[in-house]
Symmetry: C2
Subunit: 439 residues, 2 copies
Amino acid sequence: MTANVQPARGTRDFLPDDVRRREYVIGVIRNVYERYGFEPLETPAFENIETLLGKYGEEGNKLIFKILKRGEHEASGEADLALRYDLTVPLARVVAQYQSELPRFFKRYQIQPVWRADRPARGRFREFYQCDVDAIGTTSTLVEIDVLSAVSEVLRRLGFDNFVIRLNHRELLTGLLAAAGIPAASHGDALVAIDKLDKIQREGVIKDLAGRGIAADVGGRALDLFQLDVPVGMRLQLQQQERAVYAIDQLKEIVELSAGTPAGGRIQLDPSLARGLSYYTGTIMEIAVPDLAGSLGGGGRYDNLVGMFLGKDVPACGFSLGLERILVVMAERNMFPASVANAAVDVMVTIWNHDTRADSLALAAQLREAGLRVDLYPEADKLGKQFKYASARRVPFVVILGDDERGRGEVAIKDLRSGDQTAVKRSEVSTYVKTRLNG
Amino acid sequence: MTANVQPARGTRDFLPDDVRRREYVIGVIRNVYERYGFEPLETPAFENIETLLGKYGEEGNKLIFKILKRGEHEASGEADLALRYDLTVPLARVVAQYQSELPRFFKRYQIQPVWRADRPARGRFREFYQCDVDAIGTTSTLVEIDVLSAVSEVLRRLGFDNFVIRLNHRELLTGLLAAAGIPAASHGDALVAIDKLDKIQREGVIKDLAGRGIAADVGGRALDLFQLDVPVGMRLQLQQQERAVYAIDQLKEIVELSAGTPAGGRIQLDPSLARGLSYYTGTIMEIAVPDLAGSLGGGGRYDNLVGMFLGKDVPACGFSLGLERILVVMAERNMFPASVANAAVDVMVTIWNHDTRADSLALAAQLREAGLRVDLYPEADKLGKQFKYASARRVPFVVILGDDERGRGEVAIKDLRSGDQTAVKRSEVSTYVKTRLNG
């Protein structure tokens, strides 16, 4: 009988080629985030359960993986810990705990897995990585611009040429719905309906709104307002609402000031973008690729979340790139550079016979010392078998330490790509391989 | 009222300086492992609970973090998933699942956190990283040598000059205990007692053995055997036991063949090394630093573990470096290179006033494009305040876009280390900073 050898439902094993693709993308993200002055943070995989409960709404609560108490308490069936559900709530806790040690403006990035007990589906996993940037401590729109520039540059460097940044503002949403006559308690409901405009058209949305207790004339007025041009028409309609006007001015400023950054020309104001509202208090952002359902990431301003831990509000703005989504699209569209698929090993040292193993070990040590990635065949198999193995692993060079060559202080090097075999002085093996690797 | 903002018991938050130190060590480890031909593998944080239960002995079972079933099953208090407890059992599962896709000799490294519900203590955490290398698919001692060379090179590169590799063999242990007349069922007990020889001396061990039902003369004989010289005296005493002689020959071979590798001269045969026996079937290894209690890592050969998943045995040998231990020692002994503590940012661009923000943004974009790590001060504060902030963050260069300088197409650059301020053409800012950064 053999055991179940599958990874747990909704999770994945990453074999070497997978890891190299993931590391490539993570490397680009980390490099760009650091050039924008963001610093790395890591938090534990699990948190005290109170830290997470109540932060993600009722639906979120249900998707949190909970860890059973241990020892004598295990039988109680109670949970005291929970797996990280996103990277934002742990950040808020960290800001509250270490406020005296952190700089006044704390710009951090965090690239770690999160876990959600969602129903697994194509591209939706129970373990997945988020790549977050957040700037804490200021209400200045310059951090919105910094964050949008950073994620735009990441996407450009990965080869996404046609992404679009959708931008909205919580206060504009609130202002629009209020101006239409929709009571605050129905704002969430109304947004769910309005968000479907593309799919079910005007009449469908009005019907949907009616089903949520919003009269047809109110619904129609809301749709009219949402379809106005933001900086002019909408500004005029909402001129009595100070907060909404302020929001429109902020959005305008972000678009204008972004012009000279990698986010320049990418931003589209989208008054219906809500992203579930969740904890956003100001700007709301999302990045999408036109011919792809769903988004590559999203974010916004959340000036109250840190306050839930600290007891006093601290302004904050951030963005979360979805690594898994990016990887799926890049694989489907062959966006990885050829070098990512290169062999893991530059050269394999063969074993001539049982008695020459020390010689092979010494040569491997010498080549590794020179910085090459070297595999040592572990058994004194027939050479043909050793070559076949190297070939299957796509190793470009194989070194043979035959008796004759060793007698002359040489080795034979076979280039498995061309089939050429050459005798090379032992002291020159690493130079020989390095020169031809880059060729 | 403020919330509890501590990380969960036994876990840690890593602030930017911590992450940089961890990344430095992980970078060295990854680089060396890759030069030895090991390829990266990653497995999920949690496994189906059956995958882990029963693999780590009774004590291990108790230390596994278990995840509550979700939804309607949550109230049952049952667990169906469990957090990764080490990196070896997931590897064995992966080898069983993907055997047809993996090379005949699968050399993998894996650097990921594991979780154990141990009582937290100094240097002992509930979330900690392991850095494993394993070679699957051959019984050749060349993989023992490859693994020991790789971890030795890691430690040398990190600056550990005086580590010692303790080496033993399961079959030698078994042979010694059998030769002393200790029945197989008491071998585990006997080793726990013999392991204390340094602390409680000969009489203490014999007394301890007696308490475990092993007569004093048998215990005395065992101690005599364990204190013999391995390759000569022990080999002579055990000559009737074929497996033990084979084990001694393997150990001798490993020591001799390692001579020309980074493990050369580091290996000490230690017949009492047991590492809890656990799943080891052949060699048992441990690395320690003389003036440090405990080890920096350990490993050995486990030819039966993959068989628990696959139904047929597959030979395997590996080593696990303890990242947390290495970090603690390196911090205590100031072993980090100065560059690890460098500032996270090369240059900060200041804001002259509200109206010049676009100019500051454009300059920041230009410097980032040139590869510099650039922070943009987010508010139009007084310059003195902006300088103070840069200084607190240890930023070496600050750029000022004053009206006069801008009029001349220049900026002022202040070197916060020397206090010098210079006017520099805008197009030359990145070159100016880069030249002086490396100085």
